[in-house]
């Protein structure tokens, strides 16, 4: 099987676009939480889990993670996920609910109540809608998607590599949430099949060529 990769220029362009996409989500989240929330994506990577399972991201971290995921698409299809370490997820939920920041160490995965999962569902809904919707607009196709499912997952050391492995390519967007008192890091993953990935790469190349003309 031929392994698809992204050049540095392609990654840079994607990063630029993704930061615009996520900016809209940040505005919506800020309005929702009644406080300024800044979102940025400092790094975009295309990861083939079968080839590259050695990265040290949230994805390959072990322990409790909160994962929101939704399937999307028709011609451009895949699965979108927003993944946080559970302690960070609680910080984000508290910030959105106006609960004062108690420090990361105060939080325990067991502290996440059902209502917290609802808040995470809404946060994921806003972010993933924004990113996936804008990706589909970029490619010029319409995608269908639903409300994400949120779950608390314990990823053991042995499972680090197999988590999400059934998806071949993952566009990994390392995401920073800057809240008034805390800083939360998460990862947005757009898992794509080869066909959808090629659609995206073709579009990126088309944009790059138009710059060069």
């Amino acid at each position: 099987m031929q392994v698809i990769g992204l050049t540095e220029t392609q990654e840079d362009l994607l990063k630029e676009y993704v930061n615009v996409f996520i900016g809209k989500a940040a505005n919506m989240l800020s309005e929702m939480a009644n406080q300024r929330i800044l979102l940025s994506v400092p790094e975009v990577k295309l990861v083939n889990m079968a080839e590259d399972a050695a990265s040290d991201s949230v994805l390959t971290a072990h322990g409790h993670v909160v994962s929101s995921s939704m399937r999307f698409g028709k011609s451009f299809s895949g699965r979108a996920l927003l993944v946080f370490p559970s302690k960070k997820a609680k910080v984000l939920v508290d910030a959105c609910m106006g609960i004062p920041y108690a420090g990361d160490d105060e939080n325990d995965p067991q502290d996440l109540a059902d209502t917290d999962f609802d808040v995470l569902k809404e946060i994921s809904n806003v972010i993933l809608n924004s990113v996936v919707g804008d990706f589909s607009n970029l490619i010029g196709t319409h995608v269908d998607f639903s409300i994400p499912d949120v779950e608390l997952v314990f990823v053991s050391k042995d499972q680090q590599k197999s988590y999400l492995q059934d998806n071949v390519y993952m566009l990994t967007l390392y995401t920073n949430f800057l809240l008034s008192e805390a800083h939360v890091e998460g990862v947005i993953v757009i898992a794509l099949g080869v066909h959808s990935l090629n659609l995206l790469i073709d579009k990126i190349n088309e944009i790059l060529e138009s710059y060069n003309e």
Partner: protein, 324 residues
């Protein structure tokens, strides 16, 4: 849509509302009627803003229109937004929470907005009660631990000087002895020092008990400062103190500590304008040379102490067979 589907929607245990593109109600299911007390005749054709205090706000109207135009579903959590529809008979001193899910549906080329309403009030209430219960348990547990710690401190500490008391000292020395004897280690040594503050009775008689207490506290400080990590000092009673000095480099190590203690004799103590001497007498016994149980070691240290006192006080002596 046919009546059968409306009947099905009426059976659901969630609120279902259908809105047209102008955000007017096209369907309002039985759950909504029961919860809100808004009849179907009043709901049908009404603007959603007239029926929902929340969804009538410009921010939410924009959101509803966004879902209609983009087709991107939205989820709104009650934990953040509170309630969307006023519930009949709800006591509003308690929070009322509803999750709402917004989705675009298309029927005969007409886009409509499906609003699903989930009442989370009971669940939220249960979670809140559980959180409060856990918080209360945690507080009680903390209080119990603090009480235990306080009781432990009281049981093992001398109130005046803050030093460990006789009970703590004896338990500690016994456990060290047991450990050393069980290992059969003959190379490890330590010294037990019996210490008396010289002339406490005279000071109490002449200057009062407050001055005597001050001297005892000062003596405790000097003892603590002279000892190394691993050594132990305790106030046994009245003017009696005891030390355990670990022997790291032969008996010389013990002598270094004793010299430190004695060197303090040059430092006078000022209490209420009186300049007083603070001296003490120290009797030393060594494990294992002078004994291998606490009673013997204390007894021999006491004999050495007696020897110092008999010979002018303000000094130290190691136990000698001749003192018996």
């Amino acid at each position: 849509m046919n009546d059968f589907f409306y009947e099905v929607l009426d059976k659901l245990n969630i609120g279902i509302v259908l809105l047209d593109e102008q955000l007017n109600v096209r369907y309002w299911n039985a759950w909504m009627i029961n919860k809100t007390d808004i009849t179907i005749s009043k709901a049908l054709g009404a603007s959603i803003g007239e029926l929902s205090h929340r969804l009538g706000e410009p921010k939410y109207k924009g959101l509803l229109q966004g879902v209609l135009s983009s087709g991107n579903s939205r989820f709104l959590s009650g934990a953040i937004h509170g309630d969307f529809f006023k519930v009949r008979g709800h006591n509003y001193t308690d929070k009322c929470l509803q999750n709402v899910q917004l989705e675009r549906v298309v029927h005969d080329n007409e886009s409509m907005l499906l609003v699903q309403v989930f009442d989370m009030t009971d669940q939220y209430g249960r979670v809140q009660h559980m959180k409060e219960f856990i918080k209360r348990l945690t507080q009680e547990n903390d209080e119990i631990r603090q009480d235990e710690e306080r009781a432990r401190r009281l049981a093992y500490n001398d109130q005046l000087t803050g030093l460990p008391n006789r009970l703590f000292f004896e338990n500690n020395v016994r456990s060290r002895l047991e450990e050393m004897l069980s290992k059969g280690v003959s190379t490890e040594h330590f010294a037990i020092g019996f210490i008396d503050l010289d002339n406490l009775k005279g000071i109490n008689d002449q200057y009062g008990h407050r001055t005597g207490d001050f001297l005892l506290k000062e003596m405790a400080l000097r003892l603590k400062r002279s000892l190394k990590k691993g050594d132990l000092v305790a106030r046994l009673s009245g003017d009696e103190f005891a030390v355990l000095i670990e022997n790291r480099d032969g008996t010389e190590d013990i002598k270094v500590t004793l010299e430190k203690l004695v060197n303090y004799f040059d430092e006078k103590v000022i209490v209420d304008k009186f300049v007083l001497d603070l001296t003490y007498s120290i009797g030393i016994s060594c494990f294992p040379d002078n004994g291998s149980d606490l009673e013997t070691l204390l007894d021999k240290a006491d004999k050495a102490l007696y020897h110092v006192k008999k010979n002018g006080k303000a000094g130290y002596a190691f136990y000698d067979e001749n003192y018996s």
